[in-house]
């Protein structure tokens, strides 16, 4: 079974906005993605509105089409409540698959967390 971990961190920003850094590591595939996705749905639900997300994909090695579907859904939920979503430090194979499915038309990718932070604040 593929191993994947998801951890959250608060990003310090001025004002009322809440920004969470979500670090995803390992491989997201059919064997684990449904369970891992629940953690992020819970985060979105717990924080409520005014939430922006930065996904740190620096240690993400693989993601399947279902995990891309979840990412799209999180983007929809966060955007609907006024927040923004960005992806930082993704490996080239991850950017490649995000591009082929068209997700980079919706969510911007950045080389660093700092640049992603500027984009979501």
């Amino acid at each position: 079974m593929a191993e994947a971990t998801i951890t959250f961190e608060d990003v310090q920003v001025d004002g009322d906005k809440q920004v969470k850094l979500i670090k995803v590591a390992g491989q997201l595939d059919e064997s684990n993605v449904d369970d891992e996705a629940k953690k992020i749905y819970k985060l979105i639900e717990d924080v409520g509105g005014n939430l922006s997300l930065i996904f740190d994909f620096s240690e993400l090695e693989y993601m399947n089409s279902k995990s891309i579907g979840y990412l799209t859904d999180w983007y929809s939920k966060v955007s609907a409540s006024g927040g923004k979503v960005a992806i930082a430090q993704a490996k080239s194979n991850i950017v490649d698959i995000l591009q082929v499915v068209g997700l980079t038309q919706l969510i911007n990718t950045f080389p660093s967390i700092e640049e992603a932070k500027v984009a979501v604040v």
């Binding site: 399947n64 579907g69 799209t72 499915v101």
Partner: protein, 176 residues
């Protein structure tokens, strides 16, 4: 293709109907395509996704739990790479070859760049986009056989590699 193909290498793996085993199959696909086919590293990662998506479909729809799927890799070095995924047709949501062809057409029409659905990207946006031939075939005795084949075009790969070298190799900055 103009070049005469080398003798093909054919490897067949039978898997239980369980996504637990797919990380090992992805590792195998990546190593095989990197080392034996002549395709670039970028294409090796792409084939990893193609194989994973086809196996997921076979497990989810084609073969019932406790059954199996059959995966065959056919590599003609410096010419083509093909993967064939077979299910037993015992799954609850099994499809015939004709239904799969229709499903692919429907999904290709619906799944655009700004598609917001949770499911449905694997076949039209990953498997179909990253292969030259995608053929669905009904198996004798039931089940589906899916052939996904990509021909090596060195010129195409050289363009990709040249573009990769121009930018940071691990990160691409894109704007919507």
């Amino acid at each position: 293709m103009d070049e005469k193909p080398n003798k093909p290498v054919k490897i067949t793996i039978t898997l239980p109907t369980d996504a637990y085993f797919l990380s090992g199959i992805r590792d195998f696909t990546l190593n095989m395509t990197k080392n034996m086919t002549g395709f670039s590293e970028q294409w090796s990662y792409r084939f990893q996704s193609v194989v994973d998506e086809l196996c997921n479909n076979a497990i989810e729809h084609g073969s019932a739990p406790g059954e199996e799927i059959i995966l065959t890799f056919i590599s003609k070095a410096d010419y083509s790479f093909e993967v064939v995924v077979e299910d037993t047709g015992t799954g609850i949501n099994k499809y015939t070859a004709e239904q799969m062809q229709e499903l692919l057409k429907e999904r290709e029409a619906v799944v655009g760049d700004r598609y917001m659905g949770l499911r449905g990207r694997g076949l039209p946006k990953i498997v179909a986009e990253w292969t030259d031939e995608l053929i669905f075939e009904d198996r004798d005795g039931g089940g589906l056989k899916v052939h996904a084949k990509k021909y090596l075009r060195k010129e195409e790969d050289e363009v990709i590699l040249a573009e990769d070298k121009k930018r940071d190799p691990t990160h691409i900055n894109l704007t919507a």
